[in-house]
């Protein structure tokens, strides 16, 4: 049972970027402008620690989110997708004229129990 998956089209772009740039991660951004969307960046660029929650692996790379943000997201299932568009930010797909985004749905009761049972608060 997983919190996150990726569409085939998005996975292809991940593979293409990985070939070009080496090991990558997704990090969910928040805030202004191009925020509220996942950023794909070189693994070595991002200082990760216990404040970053690993949501799972998609297309062979880890997907992280800040723990504060995760508190508000943990009751939802995410699907990483790709769309055309001229986004800004340091995310590596920008030069391709493409942008990753997430589609979300509520976790089912079964998923919620399995994934969040160790959490103190179930949303």
């Amino acid at each position: 049972m997983k919190r996150i998956k990726i569409t085939e089209a998005a996975a292809k772009v991940v593979a293409q970027l990985q070939e070009q740039h080496g090991p990558l991660i997704f990090h969910q951004s928040g805030g202004c402008c191009d925020g509220s969307a996942p950023m794909i960046i070189p693994e070595e660029d991002m200082y990760l620690d216990e404040s970053d929650v690993l949501l799972g692996e998609v297309a062979g790379i880890n997907f992280y989110m800040n723990i504060d943000q995760f508190e508000y997201w943990k009751h939802t299932h995410l699907t990483v997708d790709i769309t055309e568009g001229r986004g800004a930010s340091f995310s590596l797909e920008i030069p391709l004229g493409l942008r990753f985004l997430v589609h979300s749905r509520l976790l089912t009761e079964e998923e919620n129990t399995a994934l969040n049972k160790n959490q103190n608060t179930n949303s």
Binding site: S29, G30, G35, M39, Y72, R86, A88, L101, H103
Partner: protein, 499 residues
């Protein structure tokens, strides 16, 4: 009255060392208008080499510019203001074409405000004084402000010329040279400005480099020849820029958005008067600039005993918003800035509904006819729910407000502060006690009281919490671009007597 798409050249260059230059690698990207998704022009897809050229030009110019008298620097800032003002309509039209916002806004907000920010910082640098303290009879401590040197600035696409005019004037006024990267969605007004002011500043003082974040933004943010980076954008890129800056032990300022509460206490409905009318408009300001504002009042908090009556009027006012051709002066909201934003907003409308939010107005994309059918339009939307929903916690950056009720002051404050961010907030009340106490209890850098979405120069603007730090639009921004040189002077002829 309606305008139409302004003329553009086929392609534009970077502005480096006082002139327009082609990107070294010869690559360009196509910039399209969100109004109809058609090509505007090609702009440089700059790489590290282009950024280095601009940074070198800035470094070569910094000594001379830093020693230019404040009176002269201020005069040049005023000249820029005059030039923008004299060409206001042209700037407004290009901005509307590039960003998609209604011409009404660019004519009356973006461009006139830009003019004023240049004038404000010209006045600041001309009128301020340093400080000196006589520590004892023979010892004077004198503080001299010195420029940092070369500033890297990365700005967003929601108010392209205005964000440039928030960032450039304080950096230039303090004697710094700048390399600025406009957002890749909106390179046009920065370019137009350089065309108009090409000869105003000495070469190398202002440099504009276009391109993509990972290719041009990252080399600028991580350059060891840059002395400070100022950024407006989202949190992940903000963190990356701070990490790059940490390698150079460089200072940064960050403006990273918010999820601003707009709080309406029951006294707003004590009378049906001009003030109530203003308050209703204040609640509908979520749709201003298509919701593409860091301080979009995207969480609407309404006291429960006036909720139904108040919301009835807010919904009616929202449904009356004219959404049509952005070039038409009667249009109130235009297009979202790009397709990916448009898709993201639709994804939020969906998860909002999945989480159980009730649609009170809008709730979907807006289909327009003709050329506009290919543009990116979203209906002004009101979603009713509770503050733990994701739509209440994430910046949607669209014309979408999420409304919830509160019982009393304590609950209003609790909901308002239950967010990762702290950039803006609005408080609406006729109660003199609440006017002061509620804003003080809200953890945000700007609290509008009985108003919203005013951004005058001379009122500091910046974030608490994950909204970043630094205070723009105000004289205090000068010190974000300066060092303090302390000269400790002894007028005592006698030795210490230690050796």
């Amino acid at each position: 009255m309606s305008y139409s798409k302004p003329p553009f050249k086929e392609k534009y260059g970077n502005f480096i060392n006082g002139k327009f230059v082609d990107p070294i690698g010869g690559q360009y990207f196509e910039n399209t208008s969100p109004i109809d998704n058609k090509l505007i022009a090609k702009y440089p897809r700059s790489q590290k080499e282009d950024v280095e050229m601009a940074v070198d030009a800035a470094n070569a110019a910094k000594e001379s510019w830093g020693n230019t008298p404040a009176a002269e620097r201020a005069a040049l800032l005023n000249k820029v203001a005059d030039i923008i003002e004299a060409n206001l309509e042209e700037f407004a039209l290009v901005e509307t074409c590039d960003n998609g916002k209604a011409i009404r806004e660019t004519l009356n907000a973006d461009i006139p405000l830009s003019v004023d920010h240049w004038r404000y910082f010209a006045a600041c640098i001309r009128s301020e004084e340093g400080s000196a303290t006589e520590l004892d009879q023979h010892t004077l401590s004198m503080n001299i402000k010195e420029p940092l040197g070369v500033i890297g600035q990365i700005i967003p696409w929601n108010f392209p010329l205005l964000m440039l005019s928030w960032k450039l004037p304080p950096a230039l006024a303090t004697g710094n040279c700048v390399v600025l990267k406009p957002a890749e969605q909106t390179p046009s007004t920065a370019t137009l400005l350089m065309e108009k002011i090409a000869d105003v500043f000495p070469p190398g003082v202002i440099n504009i480099v276009h391109g993509f974040g990972p290719e041009a933004g990252k080399p600028l943010a991580s350059s060891s020849k840059v002395d400070k980076v100022a950024f407006t954008g989202e949190t992940t890129t903000g963190q990356l820029i701070m990490q790059y800056a940490s390698k150079n032990l460089n200072p940064v300022t960050m403006e990273l958005g918010g999820k601003s509460p707009n709080i309406f206490f029951n006294s707003v409905m004590d009378a049906d008067d001009a003030y109530l009318d203003k308050a209703i408009e204040g609640a509908v300001l979520f749709a201003f600039n298509q919701g593409e504002v860091c301080t979009c009042p995207s969480r609407l908090l309404v006291q429960e005993d006036i909720y139904d009556a108040f919301m009835e009027r807010v919904i009616a006012r929202t449904n009356a918003i004219v959404q049509d051709n952005p070039y038409d002066v009667n249009t109130m909201i235009g297009a979202q800035a790009s397709n990916d934003q448009y898709e993201k907003i639709k994804a939020y409308l969906k998860i909002g509904k999945d989480e159980g939010a009730k649609v009170l107005a809008g709730g979907a994309a807006k289909e327009l006819d003709g050329d506009l059918a290919n543009g990116f339009y979203i209906q002004p939307t009101i979603l009713e729910g509770h503050n733990k929903m994701r739509i209440f916690q994430e910046e949607i950056f669209g014309p979408v407000v999420c409304v919830t009720k509160f019982k009393d002051e304590a609950e209003a404050i609790e909901i308002a502060n239950d967010t990762l961010y702290g950039l803006g907030a609005g408080v609406w009340t006729r109660d003199a006690h609440q006017l002061y106490q509620i804003p003080r209890a809200i953890k945000a850098g700007r609290v509008w009281v009985n108003c919203y979405h005013a951004y005058p120069a001379h009122a500091p603007f910046g974030g608490y919490k994950k909204s970043g730090f630094g205070r723009e639009n105000h004289v205090m921004m000068l010190n974000h671009y300066r060092q303090t040189k302390n000269m400790l002077i002894s007028y005592d002829k006698n030795k210490l007597g230690f050796f």
